[in-house]
Symmetry: C2
Subunit: 207 residues, 2 copies
């Protein structure tokens, strides 16, 4: 089997377990057991349990948000500075996380959803640092694209967007389908992205 260095095995195991049961719901004994590593290796490689999840978040969300910023910059350049249509902005916003996080074995969205409701001040600080530049850039772009909304209204609706995406990513196949009595069919990233864009674009355009 593929067993790279211990550090990477710990990260993989931690992502899976944190995504399933949250930060406080998983002990580093479980993580190191799944990673086939020693109990003390987490503290050796990451300093502490909090340092482990911090590495996890920075790695995943850092590159993800950089990809979104790059796509937005590129689209903005291609348009020659003209305001982008809402659908395009939203597609850039939704597509990277959906395609990264939807599918079998992608256990990060559960962790992402939990992080948004985290209480640990240290984790909140990480989230703000990782999401801050992204929020700034997309908000100004959306402000130009939907000028009829006052900032207060736009902010509220962007908050709806984020909630819709997180919820869909985190439990799209669990509770919602249990409610509807559907079979746990695999989610289609393209379908989900399209639905998110259509739903949220219509919601943003509305006066």
């Amino acid at each position: 089997m593929g067993t790279p260095d211990t550090r990477q095995r710990i990260l993989t195991a931690a992502e899976e377990l944190f995504g399933q049961r949250g930060f406080q719901g998983v002990s580093i004994r479980e993580i190191t057991h799944l990673a086939d590593a020693n109990l003390a290796s987490v503290n050796y490689h990451f300093g502490s349990k909090a340092g482990l999840i911090r590495s996890l978040v920075e790695h995943h969300l850092g590159s993800l948000n950089q990809e979104r910023l790059d796509l937005l910059e590129q689209a903005s350049a291609n348009s020659g500075g003209a305001t982008l249509p809402v659908e395009q902005i939203l597609d850039i916003f939704f597509r990277p996380p959906v395609f990264r996080f939807v599918g079998p074995g992608r256990t990060f969205p559960g962790l992402l959803a939990r992080l948004h409701n985290s209480c640990d001040p240290e984790l909140i600080e990480v989230m703000l640092r990782v999401f801050g530049p992204l929020a700034d850039r997309f908000l100004t772009e959306l402000c130009r694209s939907v000028p009829h909304l006052e900032p207060r209204t736009l902010l509220a609706r962007v908050n709806f967007m984020v909630g819709a995406m997180i919820h869909a990513l985190a439990e799209g196949e669990t509770m919602a389908q249990a409610f509807a009595g559907l079979e746990p069919r695999q989610q289609d990233p393209e379908f989900l992205t399209r639905q998110l864009v259509l739903f949220c674009a219509a919601g943003l355009r509305h006066e």
Copy 2:
């Protein structure tokens, strides 16, 4: 000061603390300390820590969903069996939770958001039992009101709706405003309800 029976004081304290830091993030020692009760009183009155949060969820969400079902039944009767407009259905769906949970001292939404991502099988069972009838009733009503959507699409978008509401309730004043650099102004329930209805109705109507 108003100190009713111990059981009620425990419920109040638990709601506040669970809403702030989640089920696993709060010890029953903290709860009983805040409630000015003995450590063993939680196990005496609720059997266990899980029994405590179960009582909490059933009390809050049971009456809340009953109110929504009553409102929907009444609206359906008043319309003489005609299909209701989407905006009315959504208003009935959003208004009760928003007005109950938004405002100072309303600490339940954080708990609600966490419960939607809970991993405890027992809590999931409670959630399904409390939300099942509500989901059935609203989905059939929405299916009649937005007939152009196939069930799969409708289900995905209703999932967006739920996520938007939960996210707005749970952290409308924390992270979103921190991103935008806004002052933590008090949320207006009427504004939030209206925005949710407008945003989601437009999203649902879209082809």
